[in-house]
């Protein structure tokens, strides 16, 4: 199952990064569809309004911080600061996990206030949209796990290949962050 070498010096686009960006465009179309469906459904009435749980405000802060931490880890990696690179990487991962915990707390809060998945469609939408987003965050955590394994198991060297690999994780992580901010603002202002 070996593949032929298809690349040569003339290829300018990094195929993996390009593929990631294409995948992000796809994911955006999916969330675009969710939020458009939300608007269309809302316009046709029978819509329960509720305020977002407090935990979501905290989780927004946390995922932002996580993104910044990963960025610092990346910068440290590039400038050869081995320890800081590892520390920030782990901290970013922990913040990611914290985000998920906060999301979960937000859901239970809503549930206690009587907004459940099966009730009014507005609630169903909220759980669906935040839930599918959380799945994408879990995907990001998996990528971060791989990055941590690299960070601790491999010998520390700054090569172009490893920078590229790191950038893949970095871009995706920023992407789920920005995606969340969009969803958060959307849910806040279109409730």
């Amino acid at each position: 199952m070996e593949a032929v070498q298809t690349y040569n010096r003339r290829n300018r686009i990094n195929a993996q990064k390009f593929a990631l960006w294409a995948a992000m465009a796809s994911i955006m179309m999916m969330f675009g569809a969710f939020t458009s469906a939300y608007i269309v459904k809302q316009a046709s009435g029978n819509w329960l309004e509720f305020s977002l749980p407090q935990a979501f405000y905290f989780s927004t802060g946390v995922i932002l911080i996580s993104s910044v931490l990963l960025h610092y880890s990346y910068v440290s990696f590039k400038s050869g600061m081995e320890r800081r690179y590892r520390q920030f990487l782990v901290m970013s991962f922990v913040a990611g996990v914290l985000f998920l915990i906060l999301q979960y707390l937000g859901w239970t809060d809503l549930f206690d206030r009587g907004v459940d998945m099966k009730g009014n469609v507005s609630g169903s939408f909220l759980y669906l949209i935040t839930g599918v987003h959380a799945l994408h965050v879990i995907g990001g955590l998996a990528a971060l796990t791989v990055a941590m394994i690299h960070a601790f198991a491999l010998k520390f060297t700054v090569t172009q290949k490893r920078i590229n690999r790191f950038e893949l994780v970095l871009h995706y992580w920023h992407f789920v962050d920005v995606l969340w901010i969009y969803l958060f603002l959307f849910l806040m202002f279109k409730k």
Binding site: Q5, T6, A23, S26, K41, S124
Partner: protein, 614 residues
């Protein structure tokens, strides 16, 4: 042996090609030598193309056989179908008193649904795009393989898995899904709604989700490859038209399939988590369900946001193939190359803003409908540009009327016939009468179903020598062409009349409707031709497999005298496509009959004063 000559490098490529140091990491002859690795888990784009093609053909036979079964029930309701009981078992219900066996209504609907799903997704999307994008993109742009051969292999295997799941659903005791290929709720959202709505629908969803993964993996790869791996000199404006078509098709897929997936997610929530995204005011056996607040129209929006681009995902590759085949066999440059490219882009763009023309009668705001009418009718403009350019390409050409060319010309005929009825349907006022009648069935079978098949056949007959090193039989090919052309028109032309008279589609029987009873003879006629046309396709299948092993051997590299790069590779395919250097491109893909030269391949350098672009 002959291998040496066959692998011999093109002199031009040898002297002027681009050296990407391929031999430095060449694996020699024992590359993927085992059967399993070579033919099954292959990462070679040429093998993957064949896998898509043959899997697509198997599905086409299954899907077409289904249509023959439901047509027999529709055309000859009083004849006994007991003889197919050995295949269909309990789905043929035999009346104990008379011994007459009939197709059960549930299974009739299941067959109609499966026919649509299989043909649209498995055959005309995977079988068509999958085959030709894989075969032609690397070969025509001068690349060794796809950007990621591994993802490419995964793309096939996800498609394969999707097929296995769908196939399995055919054997469920409750039958496969039966609510139509568009899977509208509530039939798709309530497991208790019909016998196919339970396990059948669950498997349908699983299968199509796997299918979407396959499309996305493939699409990302096609786009990256076209943008990144073009050989030296192959600017975008020198790409052969099939590549443009595959490229735009992949973009359409990447942007529209995720929207379908979001609809699927909501459907899954409605089915399993008790939400009511698409459900409201439903009564089952007089009993109101407690699912309120949702809207089935919402699903229709999500579905058709994919669904309409999907029909272009099917037809664009066929258009690209036809343009190429036609130019080669007319021995003329394609007329209006840039106009062709721009209309591919325009069609791709417009296909995203017309989806509600499938919903004129579903209760969308009539004011909004007007916008969709306008955009829908505008699509006719780039479509007409393409038709005009094909006809002009044929005009005054030195036509070779061989099988691929006949299918290419047949494509244009079908596309015109079916496109015109699209303009009828695109008017929301006329659609009040036509919607969900046989007129729609006639429209989309001619313009999409049969036309896309014609594009695919043109491609198969044309590139068969490239795929298998042999030619398909011409006589059988011509029988296949004329049989299919006449058969297709005989089946679908009468359906326009049925539709204009208001005969609804997806009905098991018209016995109880006085208004439709006098169409019995017409329905018989259609069914007879459906059976004949099916039989003619078997001629193709036989020709295909016979020719793989016993067809006339390909003796020269470039049998059609074509200009594109795939014909500069050896007769025997090798891994990496070109043995030494990569060809360097100097001109566009359609230099036919130029300055006294019959044809000039793309890698031939320009003469003094000659222009390479058009």
């Amino acid at each position: 042996m002959a291998n040496l000559a066959v692998h011999e490098e093109d002199v031009l490529i040898k002297e002027q090609g681009y050296d990407d140091h391929f031999h430095d990491h060449h694996h020699g002859d024992n590359y993927q030598s085992g059967f399993l690795m070579h033919y099954v888990f292959s990462m070679d784009h040429k093998i993957i193309a064949r896998q898509f093609l043959i899997t697509g053909m198997i599905w086409a036979i299954i899907g077409a056989a289904m249509s023959v079964v439901f047509r027999m029930q529709l055309g000859f309701p009083e004849e006994s179908l007991t003889w197919i009981k050995p295949f269909l078992g309990k789905w043929i219900v035999v009346d104990p008193a008379t011994g007459v066996g009939k197709l059960s209504p549930e299974f009739y609907y299941a067959l109609v649904t499966m026919h649509g799903t299989i043909l649209v997704f498995f055959v005309l999307t995977a079988g068509l795009s999958g085959t030709f994008s894989n075969l032609l993109i690397p070969l025509q742009i001068g690349a060794r393989d796809m950007a990621s051969p591994f993802l490419n292999m995964l793309s096939y295997w996800f498609f394969f898995l999707a097929g296995i799941v769908m196939f399995y659903s055919l054997f469920l005791s409750t039958g496969p899904f039966s609510g139509g290929w568009v899977a509208y709720p509530p039939l798709s959202a309530l497991p208790q709604a019909s016998s196919g709505s339970g396990a059948g629908m669950t498997l349908w969803l699983v299968s199509l989700t796997l299918f979407v993964v396959s499309v996305l993996l493939g699409g990302i790869n096609y786009i990256t490859t076209v943008l990144n791996l073009r050989t030296k000199g192959m600017s975008m404006w020198r790409l052969p038209l099939p590549i443009w078509a595959f490229f735009v098709t992949a973009i359409l897929g990447l942007l529209s399939f995720p929207v379908l997936v979001s609809g699927f997610f909501m459907l899954i929530c409605d089915r399993s988590l008790g939400t009511s995204f698409f459900l409201s005011d439903i009564f089952i056996a007089g009993q109101a369900l407690d699912r309120v607040g949702g809207s089935p129209i919402l699903y229709q929006h999500l579905f058709w946001f994919l669904g309409h681009p999907e029909v272009y995902i099917i037809i664009l590759p066929a258009m690209g193939i036809v343009s190429e085949v036609m130019s080669v066999h007319a021995r003329k440059p394609i007329f209006g190359y840039r106009a062709m490219v721009y209309s591919i882009m325009a069609i791709g763009f417009l296909s995203f803003i017309v989806w509600a023309h499938h919903m004129f009668m579903a209760g969308v705001n009539p004011f909004l409908s007007n916008f969709f009418v306008v955009f829908t009718l505008i699509i006719a403009v780039p479509s007409a540009v393409k038709v005009f350019n094909w006809i002009t390409t044929l005009y005054g050409g030195n036509l070779r009327l061989n099988t691929p060319m006949l299918f290419a010309i047949g494509f244009v005929s079908l596309f015109i016939s079916g496109g015109l009825t699209g303009i009828f349907l695109g008017n929301s006022a006329i659609d009040i009468q036509m919607h969900d009648t046989y007129f729609v069935v006639a429209h989309f079978h001619i313009v999409m179903g049969v036309a896309a098949f014609f594009g695919m056949f043109a491609g198969i007959y044309h590139w068969f020598p490239k795929m298998y090193g042999r030619f398909m039989n011409e006589t059988l090919g011509k029988i296949h062409f004329w049989g299919t052309l006449i058969g297709a028109y005989a089946i679908f032309w009468p359906m326009h009349y049925l539709g204009m008279a208001g005969v609804p589609r997806r009905y098991y029987s018209f016995d109880t409707f006085d208004a439709f009873r006098h169409f019995t003879e017409m329905n018989k006629f259609i069914t007879v031709f459906a059976i004949i046309t099916f039989a003619v396709q078997l001629v193709f299948v036989i020709n295909f497999f016979y020719s793989i092993w016993y067809g006339k051997k390909l003796k020269v590299k470039n049998p059609w005298g074509a200009t594109t790069l795939e014909w500069t590779t050896g007769i025997e395919p090798i891994h990496g496509n070109w043995p030494g250097k990569l060809p360097v491109v100097h001109r566009w893909a359609y230099d036919y009959n130029k300055d006294e030269r019959e044809f000039v391949p793309q890698h031939v350098p320009l003469k003094e004063g000659e222009i390479g672009d058009h």
